[in-house]
Every structure is written in C-alpha cells, then in structure tokens.
C-alpha cells in the first residue's frame, strides 16, 4: 500500500508542478489543485498507513494500537477546506485578470506584444 500511495503522490506532484509552470492561468490553477491533493495525501501518510482502523476512540480505555492516529485526518480536513477556498478565490482573480487584460497569460500579456 505504501508503494501505491507513494507513486500516487509522486505522480500528482509531478503533474501539478508541470502545470504550475505553464503560461496559462487555468493550467496554473489546475496545477495548484493537483499539488494540494498530493500534499493532503502526504499529510495522511504522516500518521502512518493503516487499514480497517477507525480514527475515533471510544470513551472507555481501549488499546490505542487498534486505532489510527486521528490528528493527521483532522489536519487534512482543515487543509482541504483552506485550499479549496483559496483556489476558488484564485479563480475569481483569474477571471478578473482575463477581463482586464484580454489575455489568459499569467503575466497579463502575450510573449510577442511587449
């Protein structure tokens, strides 16, 4: 399972980075979205991978080794919400930039017409 997750994170990061360095704004937004998926998976992996282990511990004292670490899952939840919101904001700025400059190049001008 570790290998599959590692390959998934690697693929997402690589494609995310490639898109992030593209000249069109929409590609940049997609790149950031892919990168944030990769980071979220990475945080989940930081709490050690377990299958069939719930993150919520009951009230009576139980064996903690039966449970998965709940903290990274809580962190991922926060991270997802925040990256979702900032990506949405970036999309709005992208639209505004497209409207104001007439191009979707990240610098607001095509390479030819300086």
């Amino acid at each position: 399972m570790e290998a599959v997750l590692a390959i998934a994170i690697g693929t997402l990061t690589a494609s995310g980075l490639w898109l992030l360095f593209r000249p069109r704004t929409f590609q940049v937004v997609l790149g950031l979205a892919l990168l944030s998926y990769a980071v979220n998976l990475f945080i989940l992996a930081a709490g050690r991978l377990r299958t069939n282990a719930p993150p919520i511990v009951g009230k009576d004292m139980v064996d903690p080794s039966l449970y998965v670490d709940p903290v990274p899952q809580a962190l991922v939840l926060t991270a997802i919400v925040i990256s979702f919101a900032t990506t949405a904001l970036l999309l709005v700025v992208l639209l505004a930039a497209r409207g104001l400059t007439g191009t979707d190049h990240v610098d607001g001008e095509e390479e030819g017409d300086q």
């Binding site: 992030l20 704004t25 940049v28 950031l32 990168l35 944030s36 980071v39 990475f42 945080i43 992996a45 930081a46 709490g47 050690r48 903290v71 990274p72 962190l75 926060t78 991270a79 925040i82 990256s83 919101a85 900032t86 990506t87 904001l89 970036l90 700025v93 992208l94 505004a96 930039a97 409207g99 104001l100 400059t101 990240v106 610098d107 607001g108």
Partner: protein, 539 residues
C-alpha cells in the same frame, strides 16, 4: 480563579474578528458607521497590546512569570491549542497594532472608499497577524497564516485596476504554493515528533534518535522555506517589490509587517526548537540563514539603486531589512538578538511611514496618474455606495504642503538610511556593537557590518535622488492639497520612531530581556505546562 486579565491574551484575535463579522452584514452605504467601528477597534488593539507588553514585562503584577499561556476551550496543552503571550509576542502585537492603527487612519482620507469591504478585510488581516504572533501550535499557525493571507489577497486587489490584478495573480499563486510547502513541513515534523505544540516539540526534539534527525531537519527546512518566502529572502523575493508597489498606500504600509511575520516565526522556531541544547538538530539552518540573508541584502541594495520610483525603492528596502534580520538571526547571540529586535521595530515603523508619505509626495509630482489610479469596478454588484458617490476630501486642508511633506520625507530618509541621531542609527549601531563584542570577530560578522553600512549608503543615495525629483523640481501646477487625516498618521509613525530614539535605553533593556527569554526557552515551556496543570484542575 481566572481573572479578566488572563483573557486579555485572546482579545487581539477576537476583537477584530468580531468587528469584521459585524461589519460584513452592512453594505458600503453605512460608511460612517463602519469607519467609527474599525477606528475604535484598531485603537482598542493598540491599548490591549500595550497592556500585554506591560504584563509580559512584569509591570502589572511584579513577580509574575513573563510568559503566559492561554488554553483555548480549556483543553490542556499537547492536545488542545494554546496561545502564548511572552515578551516577543507582546512586542510584535504592539508593533502590528501601531501600524494597523495608523494605516487605517490614513485610509479614512480616501482609500477606504475606492472599493468594497476594505474595513472588513483590514480587520481580518489584523486578526490573522495577531493570531500568528500569539499561537503556540504549528498547525494553528498555518490557520492564522491562511487567515491573514486570504485577507491580504483581498487588500492587494483593493482599488482594482489592471496592475493590481496582474500583481495579485502572481502574489496569490506564490502564496498558495508556499502554503502547500508549509503543510508538507508540518506533516513531516508531526511524523517524526508526534506533536505540533511548540513547547512540547521543544521538549521532545533533544531526544529524537539520530536516525530520524534527517527527516526532522528536512521537515523544518521545508517549513522554513515557507516563512522565508513570506519574509522575501533572495531568490524567493521577486514578487515582493512589485506587489507592494501595486497595492494601495495604506495596504502596503500594513504589508510592511507581513514580511516581519516570516522573520518572527523563523526567530521563534529557531530559538525554541533548534536553539542551544536541542541535541543534534541545534542550529542546523544557521549558515543558510546567514548567506541567504547576505544575498537578500545585496539584491535589495542593487534594487534600491536601480529603481526610480519611490514605491519600488521602499519595496527593495523591505528586502534589505529582512535580509539584515535573517542574517543576524543566523549569527545568533543574546546581545545581537536584542539589537535585531530593536532594528525590527524601528525599520518596520519607518517603512510604514515611507509607504504612507510616498503617496502625497508622488501625487504632487503626477496628479494625473494619481487620478487614473481609481478605475472602473470589475464586479459591479459589490460596489454599492463606494466609488459611485463623488465626495470631497475629508478633513481640513492644511497650508505649506511641500514644507510638511519635505520635512516628513527627510525624517524618513534619515530613519531608513540609519543616520544619527534617529532610531535607525541606534538600531544599526546596536547591531554592529553586538557584532564587535566578541573577542574574535568571525568573517561573517565583518560581512554583515559592511553590508549594513553599504545598504544604508544606497538607501541614502536613492531617497535623496527621489526627494530632489519629487519635491524640488518645480511643478507647473500648484501643489495639491493634503488633508489632516493623511498627515496625522504619518506624524504618529514618525513620532513613534522619535520615541524609540528618546526611550532607547529602557526599550533596549526590554529587548535584552526578550532575547534572554528566547535563549532560555524554559520560561515558554514552563508557562504552557503550568497552564495545562491549572486547566486540568478546573472542573
């Protein structure tokens, strides 16, 4: 029993958050109301921060501990989130609230009308900044960073226009990517240490086995890169001068503290987690900080000399001051810490004043550009009651515009270049003095001294040239008007710098106590531990 003074720690976060939430439910037609509310809030923040500084310094009840921890929701420390107000946090809070108060005051003259929701965003930015300075938990730090960044995205765009939109597109993209690095670093540190509470981390790091140190250091380095991007270190700083130049004047003034947030976190974490006595990981990043700090200073210095507009000069000066601070953090030592804190306060106030004063100065030189700065809104529906109603300048117009602007400008120049007798000189002198205090002066100390002096010279040259261009060149038109609302905040900032100069002795003593508590670490850890025990004792 917990008294009201214990709850004061959370007030700098709650107060602006509540005020901005209330303001969100009114549209821009209730402008006067919003102004009164946000003015009152920022003034209240100054008072609260001053109280916290008094408290941290033991002024309120002598004999009490310097650092104070506040448990959110009364969850005890390693599990819940703590806020810690020690000398350093209180100092940064006071600096932020001073700058916030003056920038907001200045914006009342004109800028808060050039777009919707200015006051809401401004107060949210202050809430995020205060939270970042107070929190004692790394993930909570991330959350407050996002709060302040989200507000800053809105503020960069305030006033709209092509230049601002283009600059903010870069600014937002870079900061989202940086936030992802932040998360990676947090995850790696958690994977190794199993906690995100700073005090708990400081306890656990010395006992981390040698085999895991590599992972911990990589995590901390990735985390560090996130803060270094914020503080504008070379080569991660190319976005900074452009963004700051594009933003509206009061916005770039409050942004002067944003780079210092990065410096603050680097200072806090390197002292708490990687200071002396933290085992194999102690001081692992010092050389990186020193040399990248030098590179930033050189880059900023050339930038200052190469640019012709005043805003770009100010932006590059921000880089120089970040570089100086980071290099000094890397070199370390208690006396140097005290000096660099004094420099941090002095340079932040002075850059804030320069960002505020440059607008009326440049307006004199170029009236038409200034008016062209206000542009048509992109999304009409939000702009109800903002730019639509033509309104005259608020406040009394004062005579002798050029004399006042020129005087203020000279004051700023002296402060930024570090010429005697103002606080900029005292700060630089304190740094150089601390570097010379060692018996054997290391080569890096010599380089830092040379760069500090050279960057002062570059600043002096650039600002003198800009001053001659903007103030002495005869203009065809009569000098434009200057309202009292614009002059007062600049005056407040400059007189705060004057206060720094007059009260340099007691202030430096405060900074020395701060540096001592940073080196010691036990005060911070003990405060969190004691609060947890007290919290568990409550029913």
């Amino acid at each position: 029993m917990i008294s009201w003074i214990d709850h004061l720690v959370i007030a700098p976060i709650i107060l602006p958050l509540l005020a901005s939430a209330v303001m969100l439910s009114f549209d821009e037609r209730r402008r006067t109301w919003k102004r009164v509310l946000s003015f009152g809030t920022t003034a209240g923040l100054v008072a609260i921060a001053a109280l916290l500084v008094c408290q941290a310094d033991g002024g309120l009840d002598p004999g009490e501990e310097a650092a104070r921890a506040y448990l959110l929701g009364n969850w005890s420390a390693p599990y819940g989130i703590v806020l810690v107000a020690d000398r350093l946090s209180a100092l940064m809070l006071l600096l932020t609230s001073m700058l916030g108060f003056t920038a907001l005051f200045y914006s009342l003259a004109r800028w808060d009308r050039s777009g919707p929701r200015f006051h809401v965003l401004f107060l949210l930015l202050l809430a995020g900044l205060n939270g970042a300075f107070l929190t004692g938990d790394i993930f909570n730090l991330f959350v407050f960073f996002e709060v302040l960044l989200a507000a800053s995205y809105g503020l960069v765009l305030h006033g709209s226009g092509e230049e601002r939109t283009k600059a903010s597109l870069h600014y937002i993209t870079i900061n989202i990517a940086t936030s992802l690095l932040f998360l990676l670093g947090v995850a790696m540190i958690y994977a190794v240490a199993g906690t995100l509470n700073m005090a708990e981390l400081a306890v656990r790091i010395p006992s981390i086995p040698q085999s895991d140190l590599m992972l911990l250091e990589s995590g901390a380095a990735i985390l560090g890169v996130a803060f270094l991007v914020k503080s504008g270190i070379w080569p991660l700083s190319f976005w900074l001068p452009r963004t700051y130049a594009a933003a509206a004047a009061p916005v770039s003034a409050i942004f002067a503290i944003m780079t210092k947030v990065g410096v603050y976190v680097v200072l806090r974490l390197s002292a708490l987690l990687f200071g002396d006595g933290s085992g194999g990981a102690a001081g692992f990043a010092d050389q990186w900080l020193i040399w990248s700090g030098f590179a930033t200073m050189v880059f900023g210095m050339f930038g200052i000399l190469a640019t012709r507009t005043l805003t770009r000069v100010a932006g590059h000066y921000v880089l120089v001051s970040s570089g100086t601070l980071l290099a000094a953090v890397g070199i370390g030592g208690q006396a140097l810490m005290a000096a660099l804190l004094f420099y941090l306060v002095s340079s932040t106030l002075a850059v804030g004043a320069l960002y505020l004063i440059r607008e009326p100065v440049e307006r004199n030189a170029d009236e038409e550009d200034f008016i062209a700065g206000i542009v048509e809104p992109v999304f009409d529906d939000e702009y109800v009651g903002t730019t639509m109603q033509p309104e005259n300048e608020v406040g009394v117009v004062i005579p002798g515009t050029i004399a006042i602007l020129g005087g203020g400008f000279i004051f700023c120049t002296l402060l930024l270049a570090g010429l005697p007798p103002l606080s900029g000189f005292i700060a630089k002198f304190a740094i150089i003095d601390a570097l010379f205090a060692e018996r054997v002066i290391p080569p890096v100390a010599w380089i830092l001294i040379i760069l500090i002096i050279l960057s002062g010279l570059a600043t002096l040259v650039a600002l003198t040239r800009a001053g001659i261009d903007l103030l002495w060149t005869p203009a065809p038109d009569a000098p434009s008007r200057l309202s009292v609302i614009e002059v007062v905040p600049i005056g407040v900032l400059l007189s705060a710098c004057l206060g720094l100069m007059i009260a340099a002795g007691p202030l430096l003593r405060y900074m020395e106590a701060t540096a001592a508590s940073l080196q010691d670490r036990n005060g911070y850890i003990e405060a969190v531990r004691r609060a947890s025990i007290a919290g568990e004792a409550l029913p």
